[in-house]
């Protein structure tokens, strides 16, 4: 009797959780654990045997000047694109919740780039940077537009930032709009009665109420920035002269082109730790705010 009940319970568990747990474990958990293990080996995919090398791969990663340089470029890209993207998205959301005409049409329009994958967006902008902006530069005699962004090592990273801001601004705008709409009416009315208008109201009342939205949007832009790959591949492909090879692309090339799997995986784990720190920080900030409110 008890055995039968146990069987029935396990059947219920497996029918509901089996597929989820099986695929999730096979695709995420096992590879992740195995990946951490690989960072302690010198596996190179060609030889069948590999040996245990301890922390040597991590030591190599942190003394590899090329990797550190590219990690700095990634930081520059991530931080600048996150700041600009949030600034633009917040401004758009502020205007598009103020009750102007065609609000919904405008919101819908700004959202469009977000529907399209990074590979396609990169190719669209490749034409624009290489052929259209240079034309505009010649027509209006603007010196810095005459040569393509994509051929200049200092400006190519700006090309990535511009396209990233364009891609995500509409998406973040929608999140900020949800935030603006969620501010209780009585708070706004109280501010109006107390004589807070315009910028003062924005600074003292609206922005403090929008902190949760800022928090979400910052997290989205930062974590996606560190993982950016598609746009990087189609727009600049790391060039010119490796000036825009972001962290994710570096990991890919280390592993699948240089065949240094152990080192590539160690870099991937470093990337994971950066993203994990971001996520945990965001979680803690949220928790603390919940307690305060």
């Amino acid at each position: 009797m008890r055995e039968k009940k146990f069987l029935k319970r396990s059947g219920y568990f497996l029918a509901f959780n089996g597929p989820t747990l099986f695929t999730f474990t096979c695709v995420l958990i096992l590879p992740f654990v195995y990946g951490v293990y690989l960072t302690f080996t010198d596996w190179n995919a060609i030889s069948d045997t590999y040996s245990f090398v301890g922390f040597q791969n991590y030591a190599t990663v942190f003394t590899d000047k090329e990797f550190l340089r590219q990690f700095l470029i990634t930081f520059k890209y991530v931080i600048l694109s996150a700041l600009l993207c949030n600034l633009l998205a917040f401004t758009l959301a502020y205007f598009l919740t103020s009750g102007m005409r065609c609000q919904n049409f405008l919101r819908g329009g700004f959202f469009i780039p977000n529907l399209i994958g990074g590979i396609i967006l990169g190719y669209i902008w490749k034409f624009i940077f290489a052929n259209v902006l240079t034309q505009v530069g010649k027509a209006f005699d603007i010196a810095w537009l005459k040569t393509s962004f994509l051929t200049n090592p200092d400006r190519a990273v700006w090309a990535l930032i511009i396209v990233t801001v364009w891609q995500y601004a509409g998406y973040l705008m929608m999140i900020y709009i949800a935030g603006f709409v969620g501010i209780p009416k009585d708070v706004q009315e109280a501010a109006d009665i107390d004589g807070a208008h315009g910028l003062k109201k924005l600074w003292r009342v609206t922005i403090p109420m929008m902190i949760p939205s800022f928090n979400i949007c910052m997290f989205i832009t930062l974590s996606r920035g560190f993982m950016a790959y598609d746009l990087n591949l189609s727009l600049t492909n790391g060039g010119p002269y490796g000036s825009t090879r972001l962290a994710a692309m570096h990991v890919y090339q280390k592993a699948f082109q240089s065949k240094q799997y152990g080192i590539g995986q160690a870099e991937a784990i470093v990337l994971f730790i950066v993203v994990a720190i971001l996520s945990v920080t965001q979680l803690l900030i949220n928790k603390r705010r919940e307690v305060e409110i």
């Binding site: 958990i29 992740f32 009750g99 998406y171 591949l233 189609s234 890919y252 994971f272």
Partner: protein, 275 residues
């Protein structure tokens, strides 16, 4: 009063409209020049086309094997998303309705796994499944999407199911309804709004994904649309006009979907981010 109010809005409305035009100019340039020649594009990219010659489209359609890419994308997206929706919602339902240590641990692991970036498992995935000879099959890709999609979908479903009153299900169970029947007859119909949210997020993710399919699908005949586009651009990079037609072709399905269900898409995307 209202007219004065609207006057105050004129400058900012103009400003926002100009900004929107600036935002959408890239699409105009691609669409416009997809009907022109490469030479005209290079000399005067902004000038409006005076013909609607579909020749670039015919060339792109054929060279990038658009139909094959589109059908592969459709197959991968539809199967992966339907399986994710079904399995993740069942699992989330179990975890909510059977609270206990086991359920808590499973849920905690699912949630924690969401911070693992794809790059952290990319190399081991290639090693494990490459050595099992499972690469280069569409079903392997679907299996991968199932694995990667579970955590987020289950998390969203979990939050939603917690808010469904238990009484509904209790009545059915007392009437002798089995667990599976209860799930399909009582629970599933109630999940419709949250299903739409997860559906939209997963469709956009899988339809546009590049890196994972580029690792798994090696034969050109299996390629999904982002891969066909990439292949098209890396093989034929001299003549720009057909490339632009190819971009328009690739974008069109998503834009049509967006025009048809804009409200649901925006709602889904915002809900997915806020949760």
């Amino acid at each position: 009063m209202t007219s004065r109010l609207h006057k105050r809005y004129i400058p900012r409305t103009v400003f926002i409209f100009l900004l929107l035009i600036l935002f959408l100019v890239p699409f105009y340039l691609i669409l416009n020049n997809s009907f022109r020649t490469t030479e005209l594009f290079i000399n005067s990219p902004f000038r409006l086309t005076n013909s609607l010659d579909p020749k670039n489209y015919a060339s792109a359609y054929q060279k990038m094997k658009f139909l094959s890419g589109f059908l592969n994308s459709l197959l991968v997206t539809v199967t992966s998303v339907s399986v994710i929706l079904l399995t993740a919602s069942m699992s989330a339902h179990y975890l909510v309705r059977n609270p206990g240590k086991l359920s808590n641990v499973i849920f905690a692991i699912l949630v924690a796994s969401m911070i693992v970036p794809f790059q952290a498992v990319m190399i081991p995935l290639a090693k494990i499944y490459g050595s099992l000879d499972m690469y280069n099959h569409t079903w392997t890709l679907v299996f991968f999407y199932m694995g990667f999609g579970q955590a987020f979908a289950a998390f969203i479903f979990h939050g939603f199911i917690k808010g469904i009153p238990l009484e509904l299900e209790e009545a059915a169970l007392i009437d002798g309804c089995g667990k599976l029947k209860n799930y399909f007859k009582i629970v599933l119909p109630n999940l419709k709004p949250v299903m739409v949210t997860v559906l939209i997020l997963d469709v956009l993710w899988i339809w546009n994904d590049y890196l994972l399919p580029s690792m798994v699908l090696l034969s050109p005949s299996l390629r999904t649309l982002p891969l066909s586009t990439y292949g098209f651009f890396t093989t034929y990079s001299v003549d720009y006009a057909p490339l632009m037609a190819g971009l328009v072709l690739t974008i069109t399905p998503v834009i049509i979907l967006y025009l048809l269900c804009q409200r649901q898409i925006i709602h889904g995307v915002v809900q997915g981010a806020i949760k």
